[in-house]
Amino acid sequence: MNLVKELLGSVAGAQIFGIISMIIFIVTFILMLIHTYSLRKDEINEFSRLPLEDNEADHKEE
């Protein structure tokens, strides 16, 4: 733990954490966007209908 302490303690300013966090976020966000838009339409439709298919016989509709 002391080693880590020394290492981080020597960082000139803590500002670097703000920059790191921003980079991590932007990269993650872009990857997620790419993934989401690469999903096929039929898959999306199938997923989004999951709550409506609960295979229950005895539920009365109002």
Binding site: S21, S38, E46, S48, R49, P51, A57, D58, K60
Partner: protein, 708 residues
């Protein structure tokens, strides 16, 4: 494919639903009492158990963990089984979860009433109950994951992602924020002090809002909104983006609760930036919920369930826009410590959580009981009374907040504070507090109407303990399909890997924020004149924590002229290094107390003033709304744990000299005699071994270190 027959457990859903309604009424009633105390201070009844400082945590905890907590579990146990096409993994775990959670709530209420509290907002539970919470939470997670693993659907629907994120994040937050060293069974000191404690606490506090009040309810929205509207969610793609962006961003935003406080600037800025970014996913989610009703808006006119959902989702949108705006430094300088925060929180609690819960129950109960809702008219009445309640609650508080903050900041032409007496700014907004109480009363009236309606529905119907369902077992995937699929597709059917990834995502933000606070010494410049509390002051501080003084008084003078003029020198991070826990507070119903002890300061009052003020504040200020604390004058100070407290403090790094625990009680008594003798010269006769003496010692110590 061969169909398998299985049964959903409805009984556990019913149990949680009843608990939700029960605690809703209790939690709101306590809130109403607290609201009325602002207008009628005599409603504290001069009793320790009913003072604002003790019932406010009962109200907040009851609403968050008892009402919303049980509401969340009701919805999760209903929807998880149906989305997984599987019964809950293990019925015994379900009922351990249910009864364990109710037991925790009862313990929480009892300990708060009797003044056993850690003094950290929304995390006031003492350590044995914290351990119970962790254990029951694991039972819940175990049961949930068991169910997900034995599911009969391939894809894990987005609502369940929100449930998984809730489980994993709340576990991390609760454990990290609750680490403490016990003094005895119902008293402990957190391992963090001052600025670190504040940062950890608000990292927790903010994300308790995010991952206890928001993500599980978003999961419920993604299930029950399509159910009630009988159409799929507007955009499933948007829900995926909503999920990942939300859990990634939320975890960073905690420091926005500490703007202009003695927290390093980089941490404050981090909090602001991520709070602003949060608008995007939050509004994405809101739009996704509302657009689900496209082409079905005519149904909203007819169906009370949809009415509740529309207002709930709109309230979510409003509070998630308002929150980021309040996180900017300019707005925060204006709204922080005022009723704006309280109003903001209630838009979320009454609108988003409350209305989503009621809408869900109105939809679910008739189905579980195979009947129609007893009265649609009553449900509509509940809706309108509740909506009016929210408006009557929020608008006067916003108004009052603006009036009060402007009064705090107003200077005369000569450059003096126009309203130097804090009480004047409170008296000015008492009518707003009265109207707020009316709003609260309306909302609780609506809730009672809801309970009656649901009770009548239950009486009229016949409960299905189980619901039969059919689905084919999940077939192993062919290698052809697996090789062609995308990575997220893989992830979406692997709950454990999904959990780990969610954990990584939320840990990144938490670690970047918290680790540097520990490791970089320059973040908290030490001040050599800052010394540990004397034993008597330490005991006094524990009384301060016990009575929940932090619920009305901050200990954080922000670096504004309006504050330094009113309270004195602004607070420095180094002044809090021995504060286990920190007591910065988040709301000023009374003045800041951080420089209260500075003899040359703006607010200094002699010991005799504090004595009389604690006995009956209205003897000194007729308009005061502070409760009386007569028991502090009759109670003897318990010093049997003082040596242990010193040893615990030493173990946390507070530099008392070696072996000081043995001398502590003698020092304590000597200082107490000195204060009691001083009081005698002012004509007040009091034994030195009373609690009031310790509290006075603590108050007179506040903020004095740097002026020595």
């Amino acid at each position: 494919m061969e169909q398998e027959k299985f049964y959903y457990d409805n009984r556990i859903v019913k149990f949680f639903a009843y608990a939700t309604l029960f605690w809703a009424v209790i939690g709101m009633a306590v809130g109403l009492l607290a609201a009325l105390q602002f207008v009628f201070p005599s409603l504290s009844f001069d009793l320790a158990y009913t003072t604002f400082g003790r019932i406010r945590p009962i109200h907040t905890n009851a609403v968050i963990f008892a009402f919303v907590g049980n509401g969340m579990f009701t919805g999760i146990y209903y929807s998880l089984q149906r989305l997984c096409k599987a019964r809950m993994f293990n019925d015994t775990l379900s009922y351990i979860h249910f009864w364990g959670w109710q037991l925790i709530i009862v313990f929480a209420a009892l300990t708060y009433i009797f003044g056993f509290t850690t003094g950290k907002e929304y995390a006031e539970l003492e350590w044995p109950i914290d351990i119970m919470v962790a254990a029951i939470w694991v039972v819940f997670g175990w049961n949930m994951f068991g169910t997900i693993i034995k599911r009969r659907t391939r894809h894990i629907y987005v609502a369940i992602w929100f449930y998984i994120a809730t489980f994993v994040t709340v576990a991390v937050l609760h454990i990290v924020n609750s680490i403490a060293i016990p003094v005895h069974l119902l008293k402990s000191y957190p391992i963090y002090a001052g600025v670190q404690d504040a940062l950890v606490q608000w990292w927790y506090g903010h994300n308790a809002v995010a991952f206890f009040l928001t993500t599980p309810y978003l999961g419920l929205m993604y299930y029950f909104m399509p159910k009630a509207a009988n159409r799929p969610i507007y955009s499933y793609r948007l829900s995926i983006i909503h999920f990942w962006a939300l859990i990634f961003l939320y975890i960073w935003a905690g420091p926005h609760h500490l703007l202009y406080a003695a927290l390093p600037n980089w941490a404050q800025t981090l909090g602001v930036v991520f709070s602003i970014m949060l608008i995007a996913p939050s509004w994405g989610g809101m739009v996704n919920g509302l657009l689900t009703l496209r082409g079905a808006w005519d149904k909203v006119r007819e169906d009370p369930v949809l009415k509740f959902f529309v207002v709930a989702v709109t309230a979510y949108g409003m509070s998630t826009l308002e929150g980021p705006l309040m996180s900017t430094k300019t707005v925060n300088a204006f709204t922080h410590f005022t009723d704006w925060t309280v109003s903001h929180a209630h838009i979320g609690a009454l609108g988003w959580n409350g209305f989503l819960t009621f809408g869900m129950l109105y939809w679910m109960i008739p189905r579980l009981f195979n009947t129609q809702l007893y009265s649609r008219k009553l449900a509509n009445t509940h809706f309108w009374v509740g909506t009016l309640g929210i408006i009557f609650y929020a608008v006067p508080l916003y108004w009052g907040a603006v009036v009060q903050t402007l009064m705090w900041k107003e200077f005369t032409e000569m450059g003096f504070l126009k309203y130097p007496n804090f009480l004047e700014t409170v008296s000015q907004i008492i009518p707003m507090y009265a109207t707020r109480a009316i709003g609260g009363a309306l909302y609780i009236t609506g809730a009672v109407i809801g309970v009656v309606n649901i009770w009548k529905t239950v009486k009229a119907g016949k409960f299905s303990k189980e619901t039969e369902a059919m689905a084919p077992a999940l077939a192993p995937l062919s290698s052809k399909r697996v090789s062609g699929e995308s990575r997220h597709r893989w992830l979406e059917r692997k709950p454990v890997q999904f959990l780990i990834l969610s954990l990584v995502v939320i840990l990144i933000g938490g670690l970047v924020e918290i680790i540097p606070m520990y490791l970089i010494r320059t973040n908290i410049p030490t001040i050599t004149s800052v010394k540990p509390y004397t034993p008597l002051e330490l005991e006094g501080r524990d009384i301060y924590v016990r009575e929940g003084c932090y619920t009305c008084h901050s200990q954080m003078v922000r670096p504004f002229r309006s504050e330094t003029e009113r309270y004195g020198e602004y607070s420095k991070a180094g002044e809090y290094v021995y504060d286990h826990p920190f007591q910065w507070g988040s709301k000023r119903n009374g003045p800041d107390l951080f420089r209260e002890g500075v003899k040359t300061g703006k607010n200094y009052k002699p010991d005799s003033w504090h004595y009389t003020h604690m006995m009956d504040p209205r003897k000194l200020n007729e308009q005061s709304i502070m409760p009386s604390y007569p028991w502090l004058i009759s109670n003897n100070l318990n010093v049997s744990y003082t040596p242990k407290k010193i040893r615990v403090m030493q173990s946390l790094g507070v530099p008392y000299e070696d072996g000081y625990d043995k001398k502590a009680v003698a020092d304590l008594q000597a200082q107490a005699v000195q204060i009691a003798t001083g009081l005698k010269t002012s004509g007040i006769s009091v034994d030195p071994d009373k609690e009031i003496i310790a509290l006075i010692a603590y108050i007179q110590r506040l903020g004095t270190d740097i002026s020595k």
